[in-house]
């Protein structure tokens, strides 16, 4: 049944006002008719009532029908208005229609027409109302839907932000810290993440809470009451079951069940947990830990409806934690591996100070394949190598070790530093996709005071001369493993005493993005470090260049300083007893090494001096105590060693009828024996050749 329709009839003709409502009521059901004798009265009623239709005479005193129509259009445009016009008033009729009248009724009123028109107006009005209602309903529905969408969008945005935050860090503790901070305070007042090993032992925890005091309490709880000792704790349970648990209200009874002693209960009560949700962190079928969300008693408690969002967060977190754990492991292995392949100690080389520094890249990146190396060849020359395998992680570290070993092994038989690079290139090229590697290999001949090097696309070393100038030596060649490989050139530079040579990997200059500026900064630092005569120059250079900033790449620095070589000396005064013998031989051996005599020459020199010393010990002081001296004297072309005693013997009496003397003469260039009142002096002279002469020119004695 349709509801009652209300219509307003306006006419200054009292007769009509009486007759028409009667006629309407007779022909239409459920209609209420109000009447008004003037437009002014009609407007009053219109202000109060939302009519379904208005019928008005067009000609009225005061405001007429057209005027009223205009007001109705203003006030309630949705109300259909019918106008009653006189016969032949076409002009007025037209104006009425133009003014927005629904229809017009001509006098004398055809009642049937009037009723049909009125009915149509009422129906139209009702239809409009219905449409409006539906529109409003739709709008309400739409805005409700919008709310739902908005809420879900907020969740998704939160989760997507969470995912982004979680992958931002690959370091495990960093990931955990991010995770706990994500949920607080948006979803919870506090958040705890516990990671457990296969045996359920918690090994790492991150705690966050809006209230620092509570945060400290939570941390203290975890420290004092390890979870593996509390089998009834929901975290321990979730670890076992892999199922989440929701505590809509955490009662004191519940806490009493969890507590293992009074103090434990007291601490838990102090946290004032209102509600709690614990969710296992499960990724790749492994439950690595549990995330707990807590809300204080003063905040609306968690309900199961909170679970989907938090579970979604936990799923993402579990993946991030798992990645961080894997990464953590690989990073540790790679770093251990790489450090194991750096030389544990730098070789001791007379006249050369070596210093090295290696720093792995910042935590958040992976370890790289940088290395430095220094070792001595059997002939005493020093070999240094520095390089950088492209790529990161364990694979780069392994490749680095191969390249380094190839360089080492080859260098023992190489005649030039280009050869080990050639071999390293071939070793790398055995792989289907060779890892590009830059490297520099150099040979330092401290006797000839030269540095001979070859480079495979590696940054040229920096050379600081004692005169104050600092220069970058040219970088040469093409990276090892490159399809464009060609045999590298070899360069030689003079290293006068006091020179400093710095070999480095590009992490040291690339952190600045502007390599040219980076190299200039490095040269400035090298200059300063050399001037200040810093103890550990490699570390100092690295520290100063980076100046505490981030360095994503790993960095290796090797510093070679050529010192003023002290002239080999031997100056001994010893008691003439057999126990003194070995000290002399040791001293002569060291002298031979510093003169870079080969093993044959060294043996000969030792025996020659040894024969003389043996003789002194045995014969110079027969039955008496005495001492003797051994002095080495160098000239440009020979080494002479004097063995002098203050004894009284007059005849050179070597063992076995002069065998010792024969041996001495055969081994040394010449032997002179000079006896005077003070004692006997025996002088052995050994010619020096080439490099040895150069080596000792500076010193003399």
């Amino acid at each position: 049944m349709s509801p009652t329709a209300r219509i307003l009839l306006v006419d200054d003709d009292a007769m009509l006002l009486q007759a028409l409502p009667e006629a309407i009521r007779l022909r239409l059901e459920d209609v209420e008719v109000d009447t008004a004798e003037s437009a002014a009265l009609a407007l009053e009623r219109l202000a109060e009532t939302d009519y379904d239709a208005v019928v008005t005479d067009i000609k009225m005193p005061g405001l007429d029908g057209l005027g009223l129509l205009a007001r109705i259009r203003d006030l309630r445009p949705e109300i259909p208005t019918l106008l009653i016009t006189g016969h032949g008033e076409h002009d007025l009729t037209l104006r009425a229609l133009r003014g927005g009248a629904y229809d017009f009724i001509q006098k004398p009123i055809d009642r049937d027409y009037f009723i049909v028109s009125l009915q149509r107006a009422i129906d139209a009005r009702r239809l409009r109302r219905k449409v409006e209602e539906q529109r409003q309903q739709l709008q309400t529905h739409a805005s409700e839907l919008e709310d739902v969408v908005e809420e879900r969008t907020r969740d998704l945005r939160f989760l997507s932000d969470a995912s982004r935050a979680l992958v931002a860090s690959l370091d495990l503790q960093g990931t955990l810290d991010h995770l706990t901070q994500l949920a607080v305070p948006a979803l919870a007042d506090g958040c705890v993440v516990d990671l457990a090993d296969e045996d359920g032992n918690i090994y790492q925890t991150a705690v966050h809470h809006t209230d620092d005091t509570v945060r400290a309490l939570l941390a203290e709880l975890r420290r004092r009451y390890p979870l593996h000792r509390i089998p009834g704790h929901p975290v321990t349970r979730a670890l076992r079951s892999g199922e989440p648990e929701v505590f809509e209200a955490v009662s004191e009874d519940e806490l009493a069940i969890r507590a293992i002693d009074e103090e434990h209960l007291r601490l838990m009560l102090a946290i004032r947990t209102g509600s709690q949700i614990v969710i296992p962190l499960t990724a790749r079928t492994v439950t690595a830990g549990v995330i707990s969300f807590i809300r204080g008693a003063d905040r609306p408690g968690f309900t199961v409806t909170d679970l989907p969002l938090l579970e979604d967060l936990a799923r993402r977190a579990a993946l991030a934690v798992d990645n961080a754990r894997l990464y953590d492991r690989e990073h540790r292995i790679a770093e251990t591996f790489q450090r194991a392949f750096l030389p544990p100690a730098l070789p001791a080389v007379p006249g050369v100070d070596l210093s090295a520094a290696y720093t792995p890249g910042s935590l958040e990146t992976e370890i790289g394949g940088d290395w430095y190396d220094a070792f001595r060849l059997p002939d005493g020359r020093l070999v240094v190598s520095v390089g950088d395998v492209a790529g990161k992680g364990l694979q780069a570290a392994v490749k680095m070790s191969q390249v380094r070993e190839a360089i080492r092994a080859t260098m023992f038989q190489a005649s030039s530093p280009a050869e080990p690079l050639e071999v390293a290139h071939r070793v790398l090229s055995l792989d289907d996709a060779p890892q590009m590697t830059t490297a520099i290999v150099g040979v330092l001949d401290s006797a000839a005071k030269t540095f001979t090097y070859s480079s495979a696309g590696h940054a040229g070393p920096i050379l600081a001369s004692p005169l104050g100038d600092v220069a970058s030596l040219p970088s040469m060649g093409i990276a090892l493993g490159s399809p464009l490989w060609r045999a590298p050139q070899v360069r030689q530079v003079d290293l006068i005493p006091g020179s400093t040579l710095v070999l480095y990997t590009d992490g040291l200059v690339e952190h600045r993005h502007d390599i040219i500026a980076g190299e200039q900064a490095l040269r400035d630092v090298v200059r300063a470090v050399v001037d200040e005569q810093v103890d550990l120059p490699a570390q100092a250079i690295q520290d100063r260049v980076l100046a505490g900033g981030r360095h994503p790449d790993d960095i290796a620095v090797l510093v070679v300083q050529v010192t003023q070589l002290p002239a080999p000396r031997l100056d001994l005064t010893l008691p003439a007893v057999p126990d003194s013998f070995r000290e002399v031989i040791t001293g002569v051996g060291q002298l031979a090494e510093r003169l870079r005599l080969d093993s044959q020459q060294a043996f000969g020199l030792k025996v020659a001096v040894g024969e003389a010393v043996s003789n002194v010990i045995e014969h110079a002081y027969v039955g008496a105590r005495g001492s003797f001296t051994v002095n080495a004297v160098q000239t440009d072309h020979e080494l002479s060693i004097k063995v002098r005693d203050m004894g009284r013997w007059r005849t050179w009496r070597p063992e076995g009828r002069g065998r010792g003397l024969r041996i001495m003469r055969a081994l040394a260039g010449s032997v002179e024996i000079d006896t005077d009142n003070a004692g006997t002096t025996l002088t052995i002279r050994v010619p020096l050749r080439g490099a040895q002469v150069q080596n000792t020119v500076a010193g003399g004695m």
Partner: protein, 128 residues
């Protein structure tokens, strides 16, 4: 400090082989002599290797020659091993040792030669 000599003794097919590692000098010549005396057994020869000797002079040579003489009197031989061209070999040559005590380039060479002597195929020079 340089290392005092150590004298290691092993047996190669029952023949004693003594290796001098490190130095033999005035300070341990006596010890060297004692070690040689102890190394001898009833076999036909004693092999003494100077391959790993870092110092050896007329003191050691004196001990070796006296010892070779004692062995000869009991019908045994001393055989020395010093690699050709090595510093100890050169020293032995300077002192004229290979002329009186058979000297070989390797232990294997010495063992082969001694086996030959035992079979009567060759004879060794005798030290005076």
């Amino acid at each position: 400090m340089s290392e005092a000599g150590t004298f290691t003794l092993r047996f190669d097919r029952t023949l004693p082989v003594m290796e001098i590692m490190g130095e033999v000098d005035i300070a341990n010549a006596q010890e060297f002599e004692t070690a040689l005396d102890r190394a001898v057994n009833s076999g036909p020869a004693l092999v003494v290797s100077l391959e790993d000797t870092s110092y050896f002079d007329s003191k050691g040579i004196h001990v070796l020659l006296l010892f070779a003489g004692r062995l000869a009197r009991s019908g045994q031989h001393l055989a020395l091993v010093a690699k050709d061209g090595s510093a100890p070999r050169r020293l032995l040559e300077i002192a004229g040792v290979p002329g009186v005590v058979p000297t070989y380039g390797s232990i294997d060479e010495a063992m082969t030669a001694i086996a030959g002597v035992a079979n009567g195929q060759i004879s060794l020079p005798q030290s005076g």
